[in-house]
Symmetry: D2
Subunit: 120 residues, 4 copies
Amino acid sequence: MATDAQRACFEAGIKFGSLYHQFAGTPVSPESARSLEVAMAEAIENQPFCASVSVEIHDDRVEDAIDHANDYTELTGSLMDVEMRIDYDGVVVDTRMEMVDGYPLMELVSVAEGDADRDG
Amino acid sequence: MATDAQRACFEAGIKFGSLYHQFAGTPVSPESARSLEVAMAEAIENQPFCASVSVEIHDDRVEDAIDHANDYTELTGSLMDVEMRIDYDGVVVDTRMEMVDGYPLMELVSVAEGDADRDG
Amino acid sequence: MATDAQRACFEAGIKFGSLYHQFAGTPVSPESARSLEVAMAEAIENQPFCASVSVEIHDDRVEDAIDHANDYTELTGSLMDVEMRIDYDGVVVDTRMEMVDGYPLMELVSVAEGDADRDG
Amino acid sequence: MATDAQRACFEAGIKFGSLYHQFAGTPVSPESARSLEVAMAEAIENQPFCASVSVEIHDDRVEDAIDHANDYTELTGSLMDVEMRIDYDGVVVDTRMEMVDGYPLMELVSVAEGDADRDG
């Protein structure tokens, strides 16, 4: 019913929603941002068809978000950029989340069907 | 770069990953299952392009998962069925999560491009 | 090693941390706030020693937090008041989370040892 | 109304509930367990009055929990031991979560009021 490319995009979305809603709200500071970046990437890379994940938490945005009473803030989409590659039976989907007009946007960057599919 | 149908499937995946990882781990019993079903559906229906969500938590599975020491368990995918409809610019995607061979599986049920697109 | 009153306060804290980090990040709008309030309260009331929970999500704060591009925001502590009563072997602990100086603060309101203990 | 020792125990509970419900459900495998341990500890150490956190995810339990279809499982309390020290105005509270009779139990290990308080 669905094509392999559509299934690949569905899988890519699952990973994005998972990453975001698993980790949003995590206490974060510049001191703890590096370990959180690695853990987020390695956790989501466990999921099926997930070829690679990179997470960059911007320390300057974290600093700006820290309130007067504490030395940390809670992770939200506006503090980080995420790039993710899904490989679903040879269909490679690249996605990213980044700030657009002041809001975090998850988007498909490219959907590339592999040689096996093109020859098939 | 991506087609509307692929974007619709990406959006569908985001909603599934969001629902699962936002609510997995929530304490649940047969007494609280009804309110959780409604809250999960209404929360995710807020997200862009999400036409409808239904969540059914199976009380018998909840009962089976409750341990001896407490009267509740934690929500996991194996306790519920989820159906979701995404409408992305006229592309309607139906998805569901249900138990297959003892494991919860998220899957695309159908991807239907609307008249507007076919006529365009 | 610890007193019953101390254990009661520990249990109260567990419930607060659970409620906050389970549900922070949930998509919320004035339309979905009522079902989320009920689900949060009933979910946490499942936990041991939790006598009652009430959650009030302030629609005016939700409206203020909604950005231009969407019709919803994500749940944070600044959008809600929470009251909780723990009853641990006759020690009754009342707690609340509310905005103080612009920030959400979780606090012990009272710790009352019951008759059984006072007579003991 | 509450004593410093009671407030210290309340704070200890908050950290435990936070850690558990923030990270429960995270995809985990033996390969990603080390980075998750570090990120969990450093995230919660950001919170007020949290002196130290250590998290040990048991690879053998992770292996046992991995199902046939995937190479990962989801983090639950039964897969890890957690120790945490809270220091609230000189009251030092040690807590841990570990398996007791097959179930994860969060418990107060000790509550020690410091010299400043005893002299005061």
